[in-house]
Symmetry: C2
């Protein structure tokens, strides 16, 4: 009464016997070694097929020291941005022949990052992508002794590690310049949490665009990316007299802003123009459809794997910094000011 399915899984030696060769020859066939007679190769392949053999990657990893697995450290995969980035990373990694092992952190202190890295390292990953959108995470990463090739996504100042990110400053600038070009006197800003680098970048772009146009930058309103925080900021803005244009740091908060305006009877875009950031799938169907800045998360994921794989293959040791440009998407939430 065999407890499981009876026969044990075939190993290389079984294939070797079946094909009448040595296990090493089987190994050679499997690894595309050039010096194998094609007739022998065929015989081995047939034996593999017949026995349903699959090579044991754990054993392989033990001797080669490569697991062909990449680690990903992330924070809150529930948000559209991180989720999309991880998706892009996963797809790109698999296309490059790597497995992906994921750790999603709740908190982002240094201890958390270290633990995650240790955890992945124990498991034998060949390299790591850390999605580190918060200053603390980026800092932790910079401070940590990294035993393996590592790429930071949205990870700040580079230096000790390669970075792939979207040009947030440019995005903030695009949004603001668009609003100014429509004739708005100034542009208000609902910003993301100060601990987030992306939030800082967008603020910086907004500030720069205003400064270059010779305008005063109003005090930005604080948000935490959530629709609710946008809603609250929206209520504040609705109660002010001179607001005609708002750049909101992400689409979710923009939704909250729109909701608050609707409730207060402020019409968008007739009275106030609103620009968001991210271009989540929903934005096109907000009321009104949201003008926003699109981030190509897919490209970010792809590039981060490219950079990492390049490092793994012994590429240049210097740390790269790869910046993905954002794209402006115009819809109906903005319009020319009619004075």
């Amino acid at each position: 009464m065999g407890s499981t399915l009876g026969r044990r899984l075939p190993v290389m030696a079984d294939v070797a016997k079946e094909a009448g060769v040595s296990h090493q020859t089987v190994s050679r066939v499997l690894n595309d070694h050039p010096n194998v007679r094609s007739e022998t190769r065929t015989r081995v392949l047939e034996a593999i097929d017949k026995l349903g053999y699959r090579r044991n990657l754990v054993a392989r990893a033990l001797v080669t020291k490569h697991s062909r697995t990449l680690g990903v450290v992330n924070f809150d995969t529930t948000l559209y941005g991180p989720a999309s980035t991880v998706y892009g990373i996963e797809q790109a990694a698999r296309a490059a022949g790597y497995f992906v092992s994921i750790v999603s952190l709740k908190s982002i202190d240094k201890a958390g990052v270290r633990d995650a890295l240790d955890y992945l390292s124990d498991q034998g990953v060949d390299g790591v992508v850390v999605v580190a959108p918060q200053r603390s995470a980026a800092q932790a990463l910079a401070d940590l002794p990294l035993g393996k090739p590592t790429v930071a996504v949205e990870g700040g100042e580079a230096g000790s590690v390669s970075v792939v990110c979207v040009d947030q400053v440019e995005g903030g600038r695009l949004a603001t310049e668009h609003l100014l070009s429509l004739g708005h006197e100034t542009v208000w800003h609902v910003r993301g949490p100060s601990d987030w680098l992306e939030a800082e970048g967008r603020v910086a772009g907004w500030r720069a665009a205003l400064r270059e146009a010779g305008r005063e930058a109003p005090r930005p309103l604080a948000g935490d990316w959530s629709p609710r925080s946008g809603y609250e900021a929206g209520r504040s803005l609705a109660s002010m007299k001179n607001v005609t244009a708002v750049f909101v740091a992400n689409d979710q908060m923009a939704l909250g802003v729109l909701r608050a305006f609707t409730e207060q009877g402020v019409r968008v875009p007739e009275e106030v123009s609103v620009v968001g950031f991210d271009d989540i799938p929903e934005s096109e169907f907000f009321s009104p459809p949201l003008t926003t800045i699109r981030q190509d998360f897919d490209a970010v994921g792809r590039h981060s794997i490219e950079v990492l794989v390049r490092q793994l293959q012994g590429g240049p040791q210097e740390h790269e910094r790869l910046v993905v440009p954002p794209r402006f998407v115009t819809r109906l939430s903005t319009t020319r000011v009619n004075a």
Copy 2:
């Protein structure tokens, strides 16, 4: 000029020498074997600490046949539901001491599922959670010879595999009953794609509630979960005369429906009441805030890991079916009909 950091990582034998014991004793300490003198244990622990030793889990996996890694197969992690489920799975798995390796599929045919399972199996995962919301995926799973403990999330009729899912029928019923209780003569439905089990379940619940109330079920409008498909359905509905209540199969489509209604001058909820499904973070800030059915994705993730771990620890061999109840969330998109 050592290329990397010079010295090789310490192994068990190094620790053994340092502590003046055999490597097997070190192994025993590491595995909490009871029969180790506490003084010896301390000595070993100190040596481990001194050398910064970390055990090689790959070697361990080779001999124990357990990798303490769980595989997750998923489709489109960009959607809120799947993303949240995976997040829940990952958290629960880590809490249970397992690593998580993820494969995100684009297509969901049998070949895709088989490949994903093979891929994970090659890597040596101990068990697999397959998020299989589509009939084809569930079917593929049922047909495949599963070499490892497997749990399907939203995976259909059980039978050959354990299943954890949200009670979609009940959800559809809740939504419909709510609308009927408000005095609506009947309830229209914008459904999800027909090969999704969740879509079918919601349709079934909607039908059942109407039947039990002795009402005719109108022909459901087809959608594909996207806001755009909801928008198109909404335009159709807006052009009809007798529509006063709509149950939309997910919140994203509901957003599209709301948008179409707004464009056509149909007021919600005054003229038409709308109920969604999922309770994504945005729904509370739609215009109007959306009455919807909440799915506890976190619980689904947790339960799927519980079931899987139970199987891994040699629990009952019968396949379980665990159903998570949905929850009704009332907001402002529905109201009593005033005849």
